[in-house]
């Protein structure tokens, strides 16, 4: 009956994540054998000169695959962590950054910023996530206000409000993209959730936002546990309810916005991962949040590997893969939520 203090539960997720990280660097139009990979890492870390026949591999690994892998892992962690937090805050099993319209809201902000400046300058790199964060906040607050009935937030209302806000912001985004010319067309590929950026710049740009946001969320596990009993009981148990609510909304929207800014709109990760974690490891948010973050990175890496393989040598945007897997999962969760026995 005591909470298991063991860190054992993190072992399996960490092993899976390591395998996926390795797989993501190895798999692609050119397959790089694990032995070669380890040799390359060893050489780079120890500062040795890389043999001439490995040189082309080195370029692929260090300039293309590694930054992409890092970006995808951070994105998966961000979306899944914020999904788990939104679910806890709204006490609603279907709160996923994509389904409640936060991701589309963030997308609008990102495109807005891009229409002013494409993100390959310092200002652009900062402006995109900041705009994206602001519109994500507006979207989540709008959805919350629209869906709320008194103090409760019915499952279906949240989704309906999410659809409305999502459609509205997507329409605005499309309008912006069509009315703009030239460079912005590239945003279309980005918006479908393909890691079309290359190099380390986007990774470095997303990193501080994700670390800050996920750091805050990971510390809110106990608070979210208390929040599951409703605002009034949480407050009677000594929780500063308003502060917790704002922290969750700010941090989850920040991580979502960062993910959307650099990897596009990728749906359902924030739904699939926290639910699977909840089924396997239970609903304690002190474990649920870090486990969702870890497994979110793993899942999106898997999806991205798949995206590179299904139509090889061409690539499919990873958002298509997650949607194909996520939509049926969504229906299954909806069915479960209706039965109301687990959530």
């Amino acid at each position: 009956m005591q909470t298991k203090s063991a860190h054992r539960i993190y072992v399996l997720p960490l092993i899976l994540l390591s395998l996926c990280l390795l797989g993501s660097v190895a798999v692609g139009s050119v397959f790089i054998a694990p032995g070669t990979l380890l040799g390359l890492f060893g050489a780079r870390l120890s500062g040795k000169i890389i043999p001439a026949d490995w040189q082309p591999y080195a370029a692929i690994v260090f300039n293309l695959r590694l930054p992409r892998t890092a970006l995808i892992a951070l994105t998966g962690a961000a979306l899944s962590g914020s999904g788990a937090a939104y679910q806890g805050l709204f006490r609603n099993p279907l709160a996923d950054p994509y389904l409640i319209g936060v991701a589309s809201g963030a997308g609008l902000g990102a495109v807005l910023a891009m229409s002013i400046q494409w993100p390959y300058s310092i200002w652009g790199l900062l402006a995109v996530p900041v705009f994206s964060f602001l519109t994500a906040m507006v979207a989540v607050l709008a959805v919350y206000q629209l869906a709320r009935v008194g103090k409760t937030l019915p499952v279906t209302n949240l989704i309906l409000a999410g659809v409305a806000i999502s459609s509205f912001t997507t329409a605005l985004t499309s309008y912006l993209m069509i009315s703009a010319s030239g460079e912005l067309r590239r945003a279309l590929v980005w918006l479908l959730g393909g890691a079309s950026h290359t190099g380390w710049q986007p990774v470095l740009a997303i990193l501080p936002f994700v670390i800050l946001g996920l750091g805050i969320l990971a510390s809110l596990g106990h608070a979210l546990n208390v929040m599951q009993f409703g605002d009034e009981q949480a407050q009677q148990l000594g929780l500063p309810v308003n502060r917790v609510r704002w922290l969750v909304i700010l941090a989850a929207s920040l991580t979502t916005a960062a993910a959307v800014s650099f990897a596009g709109i990728i749906g359902f990760v924030g739904l699939i991962v926290p639910h699977t974690v909840r089924l396997i490891w239970g609903g304690d948010y002190r474990r649920l949040l870090p486990l969702s973050i870890l497994n979110g990175a793993t899942l999106l890496l898997c999806a991205d590997i798949l995206a590179r393989l299904v139509l090889a040598p061409r690539e499919v945007p990873v958002g298509i893969i997650t949607a194909l897997g996520g939509a049926p999962f969504f229906l299954w969760v909806l069915r479960r939520a209706k039965q109301q026995n687990f959530w």
């Binding site: 009956m1 909470t3 510390s219 009034e232 009677q236 929780l239 500063p240 609903g283 026995n341």
Partner: protein
């Protein structure tokens, strides 16, 4: 210990509570009775600062509770709400240990002492066997006792219970109220309890407040408040008060022919 001074509460220009004055001493059990919808639950929510006061103040040990943080407040007063819409997947243990929230860190690490306090609270409320069971598999009465255990974990000097006997069968009604009385007598808790069953009032409370239309109609010992005239007027139903032939306590029965 607990002072409620001239408290008024309104919801959208509707006066729910008017000029409530209560003084509850350490170790005292104050019962609150009254017909449905007179504001019994609202009064508890006002005292626990869950809703804003329009006027007046609530003081615990001289401290105005509206000026406290929710953490400081939760160390002074614990509330046992009515068991409704609890998160179904939480186990008994996970629920009870949350009562330590005002005493533990932001991250929620519980010490061995916190666990011991929780275990003791579950023992006293006869809920130890529910530790590993999810809430969704518990009866209303079991949930109610679990919430009492959680409130005891807060180690607060003031305890408020909102209709705690509603879902309980006879045996647990008496064992829960016996425990409530012991908590007042032995642990020196200050207790406010709203009750439906008037026959439990005379047995388990030291003083009773009769609430009618958001005002305190009578505030005195059970023997004085449980008076046929007062009650009949309050409940708009002819009532008789008869005396229990074992211990002389008041029993209230409808005087219907």
């Amino acid at each position: 210990m607990l002072n409620v001074n001239d408290v008024c509460v309104s919801f959208s220009n509707n006066r729910i509570l008017s000029d409530i004055n209560l003084h509850v001493a350490r170790g005292e059990v104050l019962g609150i009775i009254g017909p449905n919808g007179v504001g019994k639950s609202t009064l508890l929510r006002a005292i626990s600062a869950s809703i804003p006061l329009e006027r007046g103040s609530v003081r615990v040990m001289g401290k105005d509770i509206t000026g406290l943080t929710s953490n400081e407040r939760a160390r002074l007063m614990a509330v046992v709400p009515q068991a409704r819409s609890l998160p179904p997947a939480f186990t008994g243990w996970e629920t009870v240990i949350l009562g330590r929230t005002p005493h533990i860190s932001w991250l929620g690490h519980v010490s061995a002492r916190d666990q011991e306090i929780a275990r003791l609270a579950m023992q006293r409320t006869e809920t130890l066997h529910l530790a590993d069971r999810p809430i969704c598999e518990m009866s209303g009465g079991e949930q109610q006792r679990l919430l009492l255990a959680r409130a005891l974990c807060q180690s607060a000097p003031v305890l408020m219970l909102d209709e705690p006997t509603t879902h309980l069968d006879l045996k647990y009604q008496y064992s829960l109220l016996d425990l409530v009385r012991r908590l007042a007598r032995e642990d020196g808790l200050t207790i406010i309890i709203t009750l439906h069953d008037l026959n439990l009032v005379s047995r388990y409370t030291d003083r009773v407040a009769l609430l009618v239309n958001g005002r305190i109609d009578a505030l005195d010992t059970p023997a004085r408040v449980l008076n046929a005239g007062l009650l009949s007027r309050a409940y708009q139903l002819p009532l008789d008060v008869i005396s229990d032939r074992h211990n002389g306590q008041a029993m209230i029965v409808p005087a219907l022919r």
